[in-house]
């Protein structure tokens, strides 16, 4: 099976509702520094149930889009306090559409609110994290092992991890 498209609303630097995709067998995400490429990887990790600490955020609520004052310093002019809206969105969600090799369409969705509560939906129905994760494991998506997600800056450490860590990783996939 494979990941076909992603929908997100107010997730990190993605304001409002956006649809991303389709994803092909080999898709490349490109763009300038600070555009939001790693945030897109965070969106994929988030919808799979990865904890916020792995998504460069100390609290889940940091994952919700925040506008805030923009730094519009222009040569010759000072000042930069525009659009200082403290009234940003109160929730964010990501939905991943996954097609199994038998042609079934699965929808995984995760929603967070400003008070940090997480809600999981599988094919539109609210469910527990355990059941949600079970459905992912049926597709061989083992989030605990995370051997298929390589975050920015982490690749070299994989080669020099200790024998203990490597053993634990092999245990998680066996």
């Amino acid at each position: 099976g494979r990941l076909v498209k992603l929908e997100l609303e107010n997730f990190k630097s993605y304001k409002g509702h956006q649809v991303i995709g389709p994803f092909y067998n080999f898709s490349c995400i490109i763009g300038p520094n600070g555009a939001g490429k790693s945030n897109l990887m965070d969106a994929i990790s988030f919808v799979l149930g990865v904890k916020s600490s792995q998504l460069r955020s100390s609290h889940l609520k940091d994952l919700i889009y925040r506008g805030g004052a923009i730094n519009n310093s222009i040569d010759g002019l000072g000042g930069n306090d525009t659009e200082n809206d403290a009234s940003g969105p109160k929730r964010a969600w990501v939905m991943a559409e996954y097609h199994t090799s038998e042609g079934q369409v699965l929808k995984f969705m995760r929603i967070i609110t400003i008070n940090g509560a997480s809600e999981y939906r599988f094919n539109g129905k609210v469910t527990t994290y355990e059941k949600y994760n079970k459905e992912l494991e049926k597709q061989n998506i083992l989030v605990k092992a995370k051997n298929f997600l390589v975050f920015q800056g982490d690749v070299e450490a994989i080669a020099s991890q200790s024998p203990k860590d490597l053993t634990r990783l092999i245990e998680q996939v066996s």
Binding site: G1, I20, P22, F26, G31, L40, F148, V150, E171
Partner: protein, 168 residues
């Protein structure tokens, strides 16, 4: 538990060499021989494997046998990718997401890694790769371009299928 671990280890052990070979194959000159690296996994304590640990060794082509710690940044990246793909061969997750794994690679290694991904990407082994290097992303089937829309202070997305179709 021991049997599960052991069959996983044996499987990866059998795969790691051919994967690393494919990632390190270099022709030294136009008519010269094709060199490649050597990689293997070993059990520190083969009586009780999950007591002590699995050690990973990788030697780039025409290099001496040294500790993994002495490898350069780029050599470590290639060795790491080979290990990841070997683990995947035992327990194939349907997709990989890789965030600028090519940052430390020189052009020759970027091409080898991108060609490996292109060769192995399929319906059941999907790759989503973030890269800044055109030597990498020009080999993809499709591009997901992210830009910042300053007017609305938000990230925006464009998708481009590389054989010409344009979707938004």
């Amino acid at each position: 538990r021991y049997n599960l671990f052991y069959s996983a280890f044996k499987h990866m052990e059998s795969k790691i060499q051919s994967i690393y070979e494919e990632l390190t194959r270099t022709r030294t000159s136009a008519n010269g021989p094709v060199l490649h690296g050597t990689a293997y996994l070993s059990l520190e304590d083969s009586e009780e494997p999950y007591l002590d640990g699995v050690k990973y060794h990788a030697m780039p082509p025409a290099k001496t046998f040294r500790d993994m710690d002495h490898l350069s940044g780029g050599e470590k990246t290639v060795a790491a990718l080979a290990l990841l793909f070997a683990i995947h061969s035992y327990q194939p997750s349907p997709f990989f997401v890789l965030d600028e794994v090519d940052a430390a690679l020189d052009n020759a290694n970027v091409m080898r890694v991108a060609s490996y991904v292109k060769r192995h990407a399929s319906e059941n082994f999907q790759f989503v790769v973030i890269s800044l290097k055109n030597t990498f992303y020009e080999r993809a089937q499709a591009l997901v371009g992210i830009y910042r829309d300053r007017d609305v202070n938000s990230s925006k997305v464009l998708t481009l299928k590389l054989d010409g179709e344009y979707e938004n």
